[in-house]
């Protein structure tokens, strides 16, 4: 029987089956008229295996037969098909990050003191994994708690050249309606989805102060719009 035909049918059968196929199952696919013998099937399998050599798939033999699978080397990009949609970071995480940025070097205990609640260890872990904060030393007190500071990646991510580009506490205090009016370099007027309602409310309340704080009233309006847009945006 035509060698190419056998190979084509076997490849198609393996790809259609969604499970490993034994040689005799593959033989059975061909009807009597163009019956393929087991050795023809084996030859076709060998040819397929060779054909896949430079490719992202491979033909392997497992307990119940032969199957075509993704080459492990190429699994990482392919796995991205199943990547999870990012969840939003919690308020606690953002507060922790902000405290590390403004009060570094700082220990977890000190963060807890300021925030008034204990810091979930996972938050620190997440921030460390994200490479936004790092352990810069240990405070020489009982327990030798780790001191946390921000990283260069932190600055890069937020578009800051140096920590000084962050608004000072005094500025922050003036900008009571930060949500609405902040126009920092690299700070797009984008609010997270959950924030949009409150942003709207804030805009209304603080209109008077907004102008005092040297950011235009129209900036407020813009931010409001921005918030509405953002709901669908980050996804």
């Amino acid at each position: 029987m035509n060698e190419h035909y056998v190979r084509n049918v076997i490849e198609a059968a393996l790809l259609a089956a969604g499970r490993p196929l034994a040689v005799d199952e593959l033989v059975a696919v061909f009807d009597e008229r163009d019956e393929a013998k087991a050795d023809e099937v084996r030859a076709a399998l060998a040819a397929l295996a060779a054909e896949y050599e430079p490719r992202g798939i491979e033909l392997v033999e497992v307990a119940s037969g032969f199957r075509i699978q993704i080459r492990p080397a190429i699994a990482p990009p392919v796995s991205r098909l199943w990547q999870e949609r990012p969840a939003k970071y919690s308020r606690a995480l953002l507060e922790t990050l902000a405290l590390v940025a403004y009060r570094q070097p700082i220990t977890r205990g000190e963060i807890e003191q300021i925030r008034g609640v204990s810091v979930n260890p996972n938050i620190v872990k997440t921030l460390l994994e994200r490479n936004w904060i790092r352990v810069v030393g240990q405070r020489d007190v009982p327990g030798r708690p780790e001191l946390l500071g921000t990283t260069r990646e932190f600055l890069d991510y937020f578009g800051l050249r140096r920590l000084d580009d962050l608004p000072t506490l005094a500025q922050l205090k003036e900008l009571e309606n930060l949500r609405v009016q902040l126009t920092l370099p690299g700070a797009e007027p984008i609010l997270p989805a959950g924030e949009s309602e409150r942003a709207g409310a804030g805009e209304g309340e603080g209109a008077g102060e907004a102008e005092g704080a040297d950011v235009g009233a129209d900036a407020g309006a813009d931010a409001g719009e921005g918030a509405a847009e953002t709901v669908g945006d980050p996804a």
């Binding site: 199957r67 902000a98 405290l99 920590l163």
Partner: protein, 296 residues
């Protein structure tokens, strides 16, 4: 176990007399010639194969290669009625629609008997009495054909299958969430609002560069070995940079985070991560260090 019934494509057979209208268990079946024996079961299957009165009418018309636009109503009605009675005799469940169609046919037929005006009013009431029936038949036939067309499409699980290969070690890839600077600052503002930090005047205009430098200095030091004090400074940063570093060092000493050692007066200063006790001892020499610094 049900015998398969395949209607013959319309207009395919050239000779009407031999045209079978159904194939039952592989055998062509022509009912109409009276002398042909048809097993009752097959007849039943045949009659049940109609998708309703329109389908049956269409069959009667097509079987005789009639133009759908010019149906001989009387004849078709007669044939239709015969099937209806057949169905009743066979006690097939007869949907009301079949009887409704019989009434419609009878009505059309009777209207055909009435004389028609010489010049019909355009689009008027007195159009061909068959018009509505013809329209319905055509409309139904279009969708009957469309259904056949859909059935002919190469579809999954019958004509084709999605090719798939196993991905054995799938890694779950998590994308970290996006954060804007503004979000972080909003969070910070709320912390500040909750705590009394705004009340503390000492944080009012604190230069963040000092904080950053404190972090930088700390991470460049180890507890084990001393580092040359002057290596903490980068002259290329200019006077301001050097000052920031120096304030950072003082702050770190105050907090007991580093310690500075000097072998003898005016000897080079060395720094390492601190223990609070030693740091206290050295704090007094801060002034000397200061002088040393400014002289460089």
């Amino acid at each position: 176990m049900k015998p398969e019934l395949t209607p013959i494509p319309h207009g395919a057979a050239p000779a009407q007399a031999e045209m079978p209208f159904a194939v039952v268990e592989g055998q062509p079946v022509t009912i109409m010639p009276r002398d042909l024996y048809i097993p009752p079961q097959a007849l039943e299957v045949f009659l049940e194969a109609f998708e309703g009165p329109l389908d049956m009418l269409l069959y009667l018309i097509r079987r005789q290669n009639l133009d759908i636009l010019d149906i001989p109503i009387a004849e078709i009605t007669r044939q239709y009625m015969r099937y209806i009675e057949l169905m009743q005799v066979l006690q097939l469940e007869l949907a009301g629609e079949y009887l409704l169609m019989a009434a419609t046919l009878a009505e059309v037929k009777s209207r055909m008997l009435l004389p028609r005006p010489e010049t019909p009013a355009a689009g008027g009431e007195d159009a061909d009495p068959r018009a509505e029936l013809v329209r319905r038949l055509q409309e139904y036939e279009r969708f009957k054909r469309a259904a056949e067309g859909i059935d002919r499409l190469a579809r999954l699980e019958r004509d084709t299958w999605v090719a798939s290969a196993e991905l054995t070690d799938r890694k779950v890839v998590r994308i970290p969430p996006q954060v804007t600077l503004q979000e972080m600052l909003i969070a910070f503002q709320e912390v500040l609002a909750r705590s009394d930090m705004f009340a503390h005047h000492h944080v009012q205009r604190e230069a963040l560069s000092v904080r950053q430098r404190m972090t930088d200095v700390l991470s460049s030091l180890t507890a084990e070995s001393f580092m040359d004090f002057t290596r903490l400074f980068r002259p290329e940063e200019g006077r301001r940079g050097v000052t920031v570093t120096f304030i950072a060092v003082l702050e770190l000493m105050r907090e007991g985070l580093i310690e500075i050692a000097q072998a003898e007066p005016y000897a080079p200063l060395h720094v390492r991560l601190g223990s609070a006790a030693r740091n206290l001892a050295l704090a007094a020499e801060g002034g000397a260090a200061n002088e040393e610094m400014t002289s460089t």
